[in-house]
Amino acid sequence: MKQFLSFIRKEFCHIFRDVRTMAILLLMPVVLVVLFGYAISTEVRQSPVAVWDQRRDDASARMINRLAASEYFDLRRMIGSTEEADGLFRRGEIRLALIIPPAHVASGMQILSDATDPNEATLLIRYAMATLGPGEANSPAEVSLLYNPQMKGAYNFVPGVMGMILMLICAMMTSVGIVKEKEMGTMEVLLVSPLKPAYIILAKVAPYLLLSMVNIVTIVLLSRFLLDVPVRGSLFGLMALSTVYALVALCLGLLISTLVDTQQAAMLTSGVALMLPVVLLSGMMFPVENMPWPLRLLSEIVPAKWYIAGVKDIMIKGLGFGAIAREMGILALMVAGLAGISVKRFNLRLS
């Protein structure tokens, strides 16, 4: 036990004495949360809108007021014809036009949108419908946005960032840390010692597990108080799920360290082979449902997909521990499988 503790102490020395590592470890979550929260937002703010009100009664005035008050829209001007709207669209002065028909006409409202950016257009239309509100006369359908009525992008990316940070810190740092010992030749000395290889692995892995928990707490706090993303469900469930996911990432890092011999290779492998799937296939940025079937199949084995789904269930939907049993199970299976392979590959000997 004393051997083990002093080994862990040594690992912390490595981490704390390397300013660059420290910066990556502690600043990365903050930077990512702030970056995604403010700069790279998928939300729309203050989109220019024009309205042609042919109805001119209390109901239409209420609608226009709501639109004008919304932080998503900026009511630029009132117009008097569709041609006028066309001109404004062409000059790029507005992104959306709302046409309210006269009270006696049976047809509903018309929303025109600039669909050069289809994602933005869809988003704007949905926002507009939500803003104009359900129950309004002539509304084409009753829309109700569950769990995230304000359609905050943060609800989607906070779980995504958590999945990314954990993967980055656990996998990349572990693989680089172990490969560094190989490069420096210290691994040779450790192997030629009575220290059990399992101890070496555990001691290399434990500090990063701990640090990633610190990061999870940081992210949850930041998103709660900076971005107003609450944790509606079980906090215990969230931490448990994060721990299991972190273990998957640690095992992946371990596996990488048995495959490569240089720190650069470890960095590159974990960067490309692990981060790309998190970004592309986890559903964090792009909806997986719309991808061709080989990619959909591939996404099933991306741990981040399951983790992010589970985190959303807990944080956003406010579900309890039971709801994420499937995600937990799948991630736990991955841990078992990967740990088996990497420990087997982590040789007692050099070659």
């Binding site: 490595h14 450790l190 192997l191």
Partner: protein, 305 residues
């Protein structure tokens, strides 16, 4: 009973044969040197003996334990210092030492008597990070770390490479003292002049063992008269000596050239002096000398190409 027994070990990496049918024994308390240039197979042999790799064929035992099967027991009883001083650069001298002590389940205090001699040299810098030490100090710290668990057998892979002559001499003095404490030491080096410090040596080249004996016996087996030749124009002298028809071999050796003559001409130094005089050499000195390890190594005709 021998501490290290190597029987007919062969090891290849792909097409490169690192070790070719090597057999050696090392007695308890012996300071044994593996002498040879890069690529001789020294590191591979150390890795086999420290259970880090398995040979393709052959068998080796350390302290009576088989390196292929008893790796756990062997790892408790040997100390190993790989090439390039394997230290944690970002830990201080003291932290490195304490860490390696706990890894071997012991404390620095328990075995301080063994390392004291060496540790006093680096103690003034005990709070300095290992990465900031000079080569000589790194070497001493690495030795302390390899010794801290009081091993029965110590394996040192090129501990003096790239280290300045003063530190090298100090290092060999330390090894001498350790040997007197009864620790068996296997050390490799590319510096031939260090061979004389060992009890016995193996001259190695390209995976083969050329000779195994005491340095004195190897030097005595040189078998030919060897001359040390100097003149006022040393570089020209080397060319002229090589051009001489009675010359068997001639190599530069610092401030002189070492010369052997063909068997039918040996002893006929008069003729050589006349020849060199004719080439315009002045201040000519020609003295018979004892061969050194480097002479013996080169006499084996082993060189690249």
């Amino acid at each position: 009973m021998n501490d290290v027994i190597i029987r007919r070990i062969t090891k290849a990496y792909g097409e490169v044969t690192a070790l070719r049918d090597i057999s050696l024994t090392v007695s308890p308390g012996e300071l044994f040197g593996l002498i040879g240039p890069d690529g001789a197979g020294k590191t591979t042999l150390f890795r086999i003996l420290t259970t880090l790799i398995l040979p393709d064929s052959g068998q080796a035992t350390v302290c009576g334990l088989d390196t292929a099967t008893d790796l756990k027991q062997i790892r408790r009883r040997v100390g190993y210092m790989p090439g390039r001083f394997s230290l944690y650069q970002d830990l201080s001298v003291e932290e490195n030492l304490r860490f390696f002590a706990t890894v071997f389940d012991t404390t620095v205090e328990d075995n301080y008597d063994l390392i004291r001699d060496i540790y006093v040299h680096i103690e003034p810098f005990r709070h300095r990070r290992a990465g900031k030490l000079s080569g000589g100090m790194k070497q001493k710290l690495a030795l302390c770390c390899a010794l801290v668990h009081r091993p029965d057998v110590l394996f040192l892979d090129e501990p003096t490479t790239g280290v300045d002559p003063v530190s090298r001499i100090e290092f060999w003095e330390m090894l001498g003292r350790l040997r007197r404490q009864g620790i068996t030491i296997l050390v490799s080096t590319p510096y031939m002049d260090e061979a004389a410090r060992c009890d016995r040596i193996a001259l190695m080249y390209a995976g083969q063992c050329l000779t195994v004996d005491t340095p004195q016996a190897i030097c005595r087996s040189f078998g030919k008269p060897l001359y040390k030749v100097c003149s006022d124009r040393m570089y020209a002298l080397l060319g002229d000596l090589r051009a001489y028809d009675g010359t068997l071999s001639c190599y530069a050796f610092g401030d002189s050239h070492h010369l052997t003559l063909r068997e039918d001409r040996s002893g006929d130094t008069e003729a050589l002096a006349t020849y060199l005089g004719g080439k315009g050499h002045t201040g000519l000195r020609l003295t018979p000398i004892e061969a050194g390890i480097e002479d013996c190594f080169m006499a084996q005709g082993k060189e690249e190409r």
